[in-house]
Symmetry: D2
Subunit: 338 residues, 4 copies
């Protein structure tokens, strides 16, 4: 029996990607579609790819109406604005999967240190960090999931086996390369085609607010995070440098990561020598990992789609757990090639 689900925030990039996944999910009955400024507009104007595709009308958000229509709500709202929506929906008995940054910390102080005071701190008491590879059991039982950021997803998946095994000592260096869709749908000088194509640069070096989220989910390790903007549309490639407690072999590292990920449906450790590329996971919930060792330095490369495993795909994966469905439902597809 299909679960009734609502999507709140359907005009940003994570929202449209969630819509794409939800509208094709075999066990979801998409019963409500909410938008802000775009409410009332034809969906094909918001996302021309949906021309001729059936979908609920874009309506203004109303918690009671959503609760009447749906048992689950996906929130693809701007950071800061999901707080009220989530709390109001929880109060109505709707289970919430939040794609924004609003519920990624269960500690109000930790949240406030990065984003400022949380307006609905009560929600934080029950939020679960939506990384199934770490929190599968808790996600299944939760009423509120805060889906990880795109950068943290890739860095945590890359580093955590070595960190958890106690191999990694000292700081973590995360040199990440992101596609431009990570900057969202609002145009600006930094995403203007003529100044973005055929160039690349770091930004917010050592000062990006995703670093504490990485640290918190890597046992408190200090993370030096340098994000770069590269001229691709979707995708993140994170190159993570980990200092090991002692020189290790590539075989040992591969065995460690195999143990961590061989049973994971979406995390694939590539063959020895292979390098992951986000183009091969684009549009999917997959993560490709490459491992390289030189003495006591472990280099882990992880590729995800920032809007897939880094946002909407991961949200659907969490939903599947919450709904008691096979975890891969609606997420089995592969990337376009080429």
């Amino acid at each position: 029996m299909a679960r009734r689900a609502a999507l709140v925030g359907a005009s940003g990039y994570t929202g449209v990607e969630a819509l794409r996944l939800l509208s094709r999910h075999p066990d979801i009955d998409l019963t409500a579609l909410c938008a802000g400024r775009m409410a009332g507009r034809p969906l094909a104007e918001v996302a021309p790819a949906f021309t001729g595709v059936a979908a609920p009308p874009l309506e203004p958000f109303d918690p009671k109406a959503v609760a009447a229509a749906a048992d689950f709500a996906f929130l693809a709202l701007p950071h800061g604005t999901a707080q009220d929506a989530a709390a109001d929906l929880l109060a109505e008995g709707v289970r919430v999967i939040d794609l924004s940054a609003d519920h990624r910390f269960d500690d109000p102080a930790a949240y406030a240190a990065i984003y400022g005071e949380h307006r609905r701190p009560g929600s934080l008491a029950e939020t679960v960090y939506g990384l199934p590879e770490h929190n599968r059991g808790r996600i299944a039982k939760s009423r509120l999931v805060g889906c990880p950021g795109c950068y943290p997803t890739s860095v945590i998946l890359a580093a955590s086996p070595a960190v958890r095994a106690g191999w990694a000592v000292g700081d973590v260096i995360a040199d990440c390369k992101s596609g431009v869709s990570g900057a969202g749908r609002n145009p600006g000088a930094g995403t203007h085609y003529p100044e973005t194509a055929d160039g690349l640069h770091a930004y917010k070096t050592l000062a990006h607010r995703h670093a504490p989220e990485m640290s918190r989910n890597l046992g408190g390790a200090r993370v030096h995070f340098v994000p770069h903007l590269v001229p691709i549309v979707r995708g993140i490639l994170s190159t993570v440098y980990l200092r090991l407690d002692t020189p290790r072999t590539l075989d040992a590292a591969r065995a460690l990561y195999a143990e961590a990920y061989d049973d994971e449906p979406f995390v694939h450790v590539l063959p020895a020598g292979a390098h992951p590329d986000p183009r091969h996971v684009r549009g999917t919930n997959r993560c490709h990992i490459g491992l390289f060792v030189d003495g006591d330095l472990l280099v882990v490369q992880a590729a995800i789609d920032n809007l897939g495993k880094g946002a909407a795909g991961q949200a659907v994966q969490c939903f599947n757990l919450m709904a008691g469905l096979p975890e891969t439902t609606g997420l089995e597809h592969t990337a376009l090639f080429p």
Copy 2:
């Protein structure tokens, strides 16, 4: 009950795209996967996007083995090499959907004038041009379908309503812009990234061999065809200029095209004033059409994915007809956005 199907030629771009569609088609049991040089290699080497995805092994092509395993065969072979495979499979009772250029003409002389002598002309007697919007009934009953070229698909869909209505007089000008995947998977100077990115150019101006195929399927109209290579990966945008018998209004043109396409599941005439973009049909079997009129000049713009509606998607659409399935089975998905 799922139909047993084989894919012959799984390492080129149309082959991998066909594999992507077939492996997710709900009514297909993909029972054989054949490749030439790549036979015996792991699929993930051929297409890293398939890392961790279950699929039949890549085996050398053997018509009898394919016939034992499958009732339908998709041929994604280089032009010229599909002739023997098709004839041999037909002889074994396998129904064939050919994505190459080998069976797009049912007249040996017309074929020979473009591609040289056909080695198995017997096949041409029963081949059906695989454009469902024109040949739905014949495709359903056929044993051999020759799928249209990518450029012809877009130009024919753009021009044929006006041509068939007798509105178009004189020559057709088809100014087409194609992504680089249209040139195939073999690298060359003309597709080398440093000399392809951030530039564009026409090629084979007025001398491309797809022009006669367009002409033949547009009632014999003379077609001036100028293909351009643009720096996108997938997609074709065809801008077609048609001289009308008399000045017409945009409303009249829109009514004519609505009549032709309103019942078509994959051809969408966009709202007045909207311009199609291949990025919105990428990875799909859809075609977006825009209409513009200035007196007696009709400009029709049609966007498709050269590997989707221009190749593998169309092949699946033909298969659905041949197998008696709903025509949209396995093809309902929308393009990624962005």
Copy 3:
């Protein structure tokens, strides 16, 4: 002896390109640099490529100050705002090269029909259309030059030999493909990287305001103009379709264009069979032309840099004429390859 020149409007794309050319021009002494909102800011903030490069400070525009400092002024201002600047500078005795659309028509009615009433119609009486290949003598003597639009430059250079020879009959079809810098420096949804890369589309089909400018400079021929946005940064490729009075040979067409352009320093007719690509003229004042014939259809392809021969390069070429310098001064460089 170097000529004293001012650049008014140094922060838009045509302005920065003009700055790049003027600051390296051997016979120009760049004495003033004016900007609006960016006045007072370091140049390297406006254009990081100029980090460490000496240039005059960015100052607010003042006609008297410019007149005190310079004998020539290049105006790289938004359309509509160059009118007052030009008239005020002319009144001070400064010779003006306007890169905007404000002085491309010498007829107030023709101007008004497209852009609305001109505020300083007196200027139009003396403006000269800044296409040296047509107006060399008049430009040399002029006080005010209105540089052609980027699209018209390419289409007029492509079509005019055939039009002037009386070969072209009937309408002209101009299917043009432009890089995104043609849309200017202000970011918007239509130039946002994630929605611009890996796609392409026409816009303002048959309704772009450059069409009348083309028509006026092609003997009044009706021009059907369809501009397309392609994912390159700089460059225009115009594919122009001309119906001939009678079937012609390629040799005859090549002879006609050779006669027109063999003595032109910046217009190069490519060898037979070669196709122009804007990447090979990027950053230059050059125009590459390819010719193709099929009976009575002549297809001319012209590639320019929209900011070079389509704007700042052409402005410098006009300046050289006005200043009595060799026409190629400061413009001899070739495009980067690759």
Copy 4:
């Protein structure tokens, strides 16, 4: 008085870039142009950007003919083939600037460990590493200069001030991102547009042969080098991670780098907080540097053009020193923007 110079190897990317610079250099008389397979072909076929541009004919390489025509020779030959050309030219009294990897080590054993036995080890005794910022005096007097690799140039410029000051302790991590032209002009699967655009990946992680060259020119520091291929045509951005002996402030780091580079004409330390982007140095000999500090971690970002400061530009800079010319002659231009 202009110096007579020859360019040997004019059809690869470094060769065409050298040709672009040499043909516009005010103090160079380009007297010979040598090519292998392309000898005898029109230059415009090799590089369409040179259509209509005067240049010497492409001739086969003959050391005596070059010696008769020129006092300096630039070698833009494939690695391994420059050895004989250089030795033969030196024997004829020609001073040689080698852009290949053949003369970057003055120690035959060090060379052999990476590239195999050197066939003309005598040359190594007098080769000078062509990084003017380090070796200005020796370059000026040399007969043979081995220009640094593109990756080493950026990493050495980024790291050496901290290394030389004794600040950097432990290993250097160099996470470098290169445009695709760095892979050269020969097409291959790894540079095929459809599989290169809209993706990125590392390659030869911890195993690239440029690492020893970096190490040798950074006082023997161990360098962990991870090169990445990003979808831009030209340019390298190197993000270098240096562990400091003690926590330092950003101001202290900026003072250190200012001391190193304030008098350098081509190395620009950007304002605090600014991030370098290779698009702003494209086509130039410039290097933009950004500095960031977090306690005892120094992050240095350096952007160059791999074909400019990373190859042909640096070669011209070395030539200027050898010829006793101002070091910036022929290299003053700025990058296109956008």
